[in-house]
Amino acid sequence: MLNFPAWKVALISLVLLWGALLALPNAFSDGFLGVAPRDTGATDAQSVAEFNEQQEAAEHSWWPSFLPTRKVNLGLDLQGGVYLLTQIDPEEVASNRLETLQADIVQALNRAPLIERDVPEQQGSTLPIRLRNPDQMDDAVRRLRRLNPSIGATGNEKVMSIEKSGPELITVSVSDSAKQALAADAQSKMIEIIRRRLDPDGVSEVSITPQGDTRIVIEAPGEADPRRIKDILSQAGRMTFNMADVDASAINAAQSTRPRPGWELLQDVEGRPILVNRTPVVTGSDIATANQGNDPDDNSAAVDFRLTGSGAERFGRTTASNRGRIFAIVLDGTVMSSPRINEPIWGGNVQITGQFTIEEAQDLAAIIEAGELPAKLNFIEERTVGPGLGADSIAAGTRASIIGLVLVGVFMIIAYGLIGGFAVGSLLANIVLILGALSGLGATLTLPGIAGIVLTIGMAVDANVIVFERIREEQRAGRSPSTAVIAGYERALATILDANITTFIAAAILYLLGSGPVKGFAVTLAIGIVTSVFTAFVVTRWFTAMWLRVAKPRKLSI
């Protein structure tokens, strides 16, 4: 237990050095480490100055590239940010999907020989089709089966279930298993769209992760306004260009009775009524790019689109034959803008102007370019921490850790004297190893996580104490210092392992079943247990062994 050959010493030193190296970056700024700062998009003078300073420092950094540069990941509660939990309604996904299939169904039933039926009315995710002629039943079912699309990984799952519910009634519905498959499919599509909306340039650290089959977790570090993210994500993002009519008499007529067939009455951003043709000239899939631009008239922020080739062609033809008329740019049922067509627009470049701020224009461009969401996102949980509170929490947590460490250290030295000092040394090594492990694993440190570290500081001496107590007993039984130390360590090992495995079980359960901050607590607790056992059992023993060899004490003052 006490002989440490060169290879053992080398191994221990390596582990400690490696931990120290991994922990080291946390002591420096990113620029010093040669890591280019992240562009947060903030435009205030202070942030810009800070950004430039870090950029400058990063370029002249002497930090060698073979050394680690990764820091401990700070949780949202420490660096500030927004956490959102969203829920997809499978029922809604299913009925939206069935709606898109309606056009195909009409087409299939209209093929010669025509199958006559009542106009079907969709109710949620079912669509009853009542035939005029019961003899055509089998033919109708066959036609519907043929256009039934597959869903899911295996491809045996069909979207529609087609039932004969009576002599002339067919019920088309989405089965439960298809609903699940559709929801899972929608979930992965939505994660993609959310990412494109929130992070169009791919620079921010926003994380978007699935939870179960119908939920998505969004974490946006550094974001201080939960409503902004909700606004960006709560729009379906269905963008169309339609011909419009602002003629007052036509609008009046539409308001008093109903719009003429094929037209609907919408409102523009200021709430004014406007008649819009139901058939869009251009839809979201025709839009190639959307960016924030500037209105040439007054240089205010605007949104610029470029249409795809076929979209531009169609739009050009429509505008050429409709000079002097109005067209509407419609987003989720609201007319964003309704310019008059002064001349044909061929190049496929369109601009929406309005009273946008730069940020609004950027968000709108991101929404349009990202595409349409297959269903509404329902927000069911939100937690936001402002940057001020985050910084305060870090300060308080750090202070508590240092005070705790000092108190425990003083206590150990008072209780055990020199050998207590060894324990404090290994406690410091323990903290360094925990920080190193957190940085190396890329684990997230949360505020409860800091509490976990402090708790570890308190409990870490436990293993040392068990050993020391054993050594005291052995000494009383009349053994020499070195045999007492050996016996003490040998007899304490099983106890220490037993005792720590139970705590480790608790930490593992917390990690598996906990969420957010609790997970962070579990991580530091678990890492702390492993490093504590290592430092108490290996590092302190090594210190003690060296001291025994050098000082050759007659008696251990334990």
């Binding site: 927000f379 300060a395 005070i403 040998e490």
Partner: protein, 322 residues
């Protein structure tokens, strides 16, 4: 150093005291159940749903001004309190709380809660332009139900796994003793939360699980000694064996509790308001856990009958690595 002045052999007669301890524990557990069922636990929004919004006090604004802004939003009862924020130079904050919102027909309850929260933030923005948000949290009733369920499942699974581990390493009697001590700690700590009406939330569950781990750690160390002494002294009465083991581990038990409490006190005093509930639970749990590993766990083993003739199980020996 100072520990040399600790008596070489303590002879505290723990087991003869166990009847008194048993009475006290029974009273505490009964009182805890009574508190939990009558007064209930002060569930935070994690488990009951609702919203908590904390803003820095806008210049020149008082709580009353914030109350007036809230009164026009139709949120039902809104609590507005002033407080001191976490931190060294703590800022003055205003905390706004309101319970789960009743949703209109056809609107998901969890979604309604979010909308209410957004309305509050919008109203604050209009009344106090440029106000600084410290934190905001809105949890719907469905989500809070799930959080509570998963928290309780976590506790139950942890207890079961530890019981299994102790059964494998020791024997079922020890496992029962350990688990009795754990239930004892968890119930009394929850009773404490009911009495003080401290907020009971996700961090509290984390604290309870940690207490379970810590108390287990303590219990195992005592049990280890009990087993060792029981094999050594086959003729000694069981109660004396247990007393001997507890006395032998007493200095370690007190030292470790001491250092852990020092560390936890520094979180409680200096770690800010966010951690105060969690560290309070941990402090209380360490005290009660230390007590239970000495009195409750061992007393249960004694009641079940200590086996002093059992063959030593295979030990982890020859740890010659590293």
């Amino acid at each position: 150093m100072l520990l040399q002045y600790w008596p070489k052999k303590t002879n505290v007669p723990f087991m003869p005291l166990r009847m008194g301890a048993l009475v006290m524990s029974t009273i505490l557990i009964a009182a805890s159940f009574f508190m939990i069922f009558t007064k209930g636990l002060n569930f935070g929004i994690d488990f009951s749903g609702g919203s908590v919004i904390e803003i820095e006090r806008p210049d020149g604004a008082q709580e009353q001004d914030v109350r007036e802004v809230m009164s026009g939003l139709g949120l039902g009862e809104v609590q507005v309190n002033a407080a001191r924020g976490t931190g060294v130079d703590s800022v003055e904050v205003i905390v706004i709380r309101f319970a789960t919102q009743r949703a209109e027909e056809g609107v998901d309850q969890d979604v309604a809660q979010q909308q209410a929260n957004d309305r509050v933030l919008a109203a604050l923005g209009e009344a106090f332009p440029g106000y600084i948000l410290r934190s905001s949290a809105a949890v719907g009733p469905k989500v809070s139900g799930e959080l509570l369920r998963s928290g309780l499942i976590a506790l139950a699974v942890a207890l079961l796994l530890m019981m299994a581990y102790i059964s494998v390493r020791f024997q079922w009697k020890y496992a029962l003793g350990a688990v009795a001590a754990l239930f004892h700690d968890v119930i009394i700590t929850m009773g404490m939360f009911s009495l003080t009406q401290f907020e009971f939330n996700l961090s509290t569950i984390a604290a309870l699980l940690t207490i379970v781990g810590y108390s287990m750690n303590d219990t195992v160390i005592v049990f280890d000694r009990v087993r060792e002494e029981a094999r050594k002294y086959k003729k000694m009465p069981s109660a004396d064996v247990i007393d001997l083991a507890i006395n032998q581990t007493l200095s370690r038990t007190l030292l470790t509790s001491g250092t852990t409490l020092l560390a936890l006190l520094s979180i409680y005093l200096f770690g800010g308001t966010v951690l105060s509930g969690m560290s309070f639970a941990l402090i209380f749990g360490v005290v009660i856990g230390t007590y239970s590993s000495v009195f409750v766990a061992s007393a249960v083993v004694l009641m079940l009958g200590l086996d002093q003739g059992d063959k030593p199980k295979r030990e982890v020996t020859g740890f010659q690595g590293v």
